[in-house]
C-alpha cells in the first residue's frame, strides 16, 4: 500500500489503466478514466459575442504599418486589392497610435495635446480661416513676432503697437484704441457716450471736435485732435505735432515726422 508509484505506473494511472500488480489502484484508475472520458466528449461552451464575431471572420487581417502583410497573412494579403491593403494599414496605424497614446504618461499627453492644438491653430490662422476676432489676434501676434506691418495705416511710430485700424497715426507710448468713440485721455474716466471728449480740468467743449488738450486752448476748428504726448487718434483727421504752436489750420504730419506747418 505504501509502495512508491513509479513514473510508468503514474502514466498508466493517468491514462485510466490499472498498473500491473497494483489491484488497489483499480478504483483510482477507473475514476481518472471517467474524468478523462467526460472531458474528451464535452461540448464547447457558448462563445461570447466578441469571440463569435471573431469566429465569423469579421476580424481585421493583421497587416503591418507599412502595408506589408505579416508572415502569417501573406497568402491572404496577396489576394487583397491594393486599396484594401492600404485601408487595413491605415486602420492598423491608427490603432497603434492610440495604443501608443494610451501607454504614455499624463504629462506627456498634455504636452502633446497642447502641441497639436498650437500646430492646428497656427495652420488655420495662416490660412486666414479663424473667426474674426481670433484671426485679428493671430495677425497681431504674427506681426509682432515677425516685425512686419501689412496695415494700410500711413504711419506707425517707433515702439508703438501695431494698429490695424485705418487711423492715420498712433503715437509713441500710446495704447491702441479700437473703439470708434472719440479719444479718451489717460487718467480720465472712460466716456462711453458718443459725445466728444471732456478733459480733466478743462472746459467743456461743446463743439463737435472730439478732443481738447490739457492746458491748451480750445480749438474751435474742426481739426479733431491735438496731441501732447498723445494717445491714439482714431479719427481720420491728420496729426498735429506735440508742443508745436498750432495754427487754426490743420497741421499735417508727414511721413518723415516733420510737421507741415504753414
Amino acid at each position: 500500500m505504501s509502495k512508491r508509484i513509479s513514473d510508468t505506473e503514474a502514466e498508466q494511472l493517468l491514462a485510466g489503466m490499472t498498473p500491473a500488480g497494483h489491484p488497489e489502484l483499480t478504483d483510482l484508475a477507473a475514476a481518472i478514466g471517467g474524468v478523462r472520458a467526460r472531458a474528451e466528449f464535452a461540448a464547447a461552451p457558448v462563445p461570447t459575442a466578441m469571440l463569435l464575431a471573431r469566429l465569423e471572420g469579421k476580424a481585421i487581417v493583421p497587416i503591418s504599418i507599412t502595408g506589408e502583410a505579416t508572415v502569417a497573412s501573406r497568402s491572404t494579403a496577396a489576394s487583397l486589392s491594393p486599396l484594401a491593403v492600404r485601408r487595413a494599414a491605415l486602420i492598423e496605424g491608427v490603432r497603434k497610435m492610440f495604443e501608443w497614446i494610451a501607454g504614455i504618461g499624463l504629462a506627456s499627453k498634455i504636452t502633446i495635446g497642447a502641441g497639436v492644438v498650437l500646430l492646428a491653430t497656427t495652420g488655420v490662422g495662416a490660412a486666414g480661416a479663424l473667426p474674426g476676432p481670433a484671426q485679428s489676434a493671430f495677425d497681431t501676434i504674427v506681426s509682432t513676432v515677425t516685425g512686419t506691418d501689412d496695415d494700410s495705416a500711413p504711419y506707425v511710430d517707433d515702439e508703438s503697437d501695431v494698429d490695424d485700424d485705418p487711423a492715420p497715426y498712433v503715437d509713441d507710448e500710446s495704447d491702441v484704441d479700437d473703439d470708434p468713440a472719440p479719444y479718451v485721455e489717460d487718467e480720465s474716466d472712460v466716456n462711453d457716450d458718443p459725445a466728444p471728449y471732456v478733459e480733466d480740468e478743462s472746459d467743456v467743449n461743446d463743439d463737435p471736435a472730439p478732443y481738447v488738450e490739457d492746458e491748451s486752448d480750445v480749438n474751435d476748428d474742426s481739426a479733431p485732435y491735438v496731441e501732447d504726448e498723445s494717445d491714439v487718434n482714431d479719427d481720420s483727421a491728420p496729426y498735429v505735432e506735440d508742443e508745436s504752436d498750432s495754427d487754426d489750420g490743420p497741421v499735417l504730419y508727414g511721413e518723415d515726422g516733420s510737421a507741415d506747418e504753414d
Binding site: I5, A10, L14, I32, A42, A44, G57, A72
Partner: protein, 191 residues
C-alpha cells in the same frame, strides 16, 4: 486533428479565416473550459472565450505543431485563471444565494440520490490536493497534456512535474482507500 490538417487550419486561422478559428475553438475549447472549471473559475465559459480572444490575437506569432499549439493555448488559459483567482482574492468572494442550494431546505430522498449521482467524486478528490498538485493532475487528465507540456504551461522543470504527479497520485490512492479522509478546502484564491 493530425499535424498536416493542423498546419492547414493554423495557416488559415492566422489569415483570419473564420472557419479555421472555429475549428481551433471546437477542438480545444471543451478541454480549456473543463480545466478552468476544475480549477475553480467562477465563469469558466466566459473565461474560455477570453482565452481564445487572446489566442487569436497572438496567433500570427505562433510557430509549431499541434502539441505546441495545445501548450500555447493552455499557457494562456493558466495565466488568465491565475489572474482571476488573484483578483477574486483581492476583492473577496461574492456568492450568489440560490434557493435550491440553501442548506436549510429539507431535501428529499430522491434529490439526495440525484445529487449523489451527479457528484463527481474524482473531481472532489482532485480538489482536495494542493494547488500545485491539482494543476498538474488537471492539466494531465482534463487537458490531456504531456509532462513536458505541463512543465511548459506551469513554467517548471519536467522533473518537478513528475514529482508533483507522483505525490498527487499517492494522496489520491490514500483517499480512495479510505474515503473517510476529510477533503480539504478547494478554494485556493490568493488572500
Amino acid at each position: 486533428m493530425n499535424d498536416e490538417t493542423f498546419t492547414t487550419v493554423l495557416l488559415a486561422a492566422q489569415t483570419g479565416a473564420g472557419w479555421a478559428c472555429t475549428r481551433l475553438w471546437a477542438e480545444h475549447a471543451p478541454a480549456v473550459a473543463g480545466f478552468l472549471r476544475a480549477r475553480g473559475s467562477r465563469e469558466p465559459d466566459d473565461l474560455t472565450s477570453e482565452v481564445f480572444l487572446v489566442v487569436f490575437d497572438r496567433l500570427a506569432d505562433f510557430r509549431g505543431d499541434a502539441a505546441s499549439f495545445r501548450s500555447f493555448v493552455f499557457s494562456i488559459a493558466y495565466r488568465r485563471l491565475v489572474d482571476e483567482l488573484r483578483m477574486r482574492g483581492r476583492r473577496g468572494e461574492t456568492v450568489e444565494l440560490l434557493a435550491e442550494e440553501d442548506p436549510r431546505r429539507a431535501s428529499s430522498a430522491e434529490s439526495d440520490a440525484l445529487n449523489r449521482l451527479a457528484t463527481d467524486q474524482t473531481m472532489e478528490l482532485l480538489r482536495s490536493l494542493s494547488p500545485d498538485q491539482r494543476d498538474v493532475m488537471i492539466l494531465r487528465i482534463v487537458a490531456d497534456l504531456t509532462v513536458e507540456q505541463v512543465a511548459e504551461v506551469l513554467g517548471k522543470r519536467a522533473d518537478a512535474i513528475k514529482a508533483l504527479q507522483r505525490r498527487a497520485l499517492t494522496q489520491l490512492r490514500k483517499k480512495v482507500a479510505d474515503p473517510r479522509t476529510p477533503v480539504a478546502s478547494a478554494d485556493d484564491s490568493e488572500k
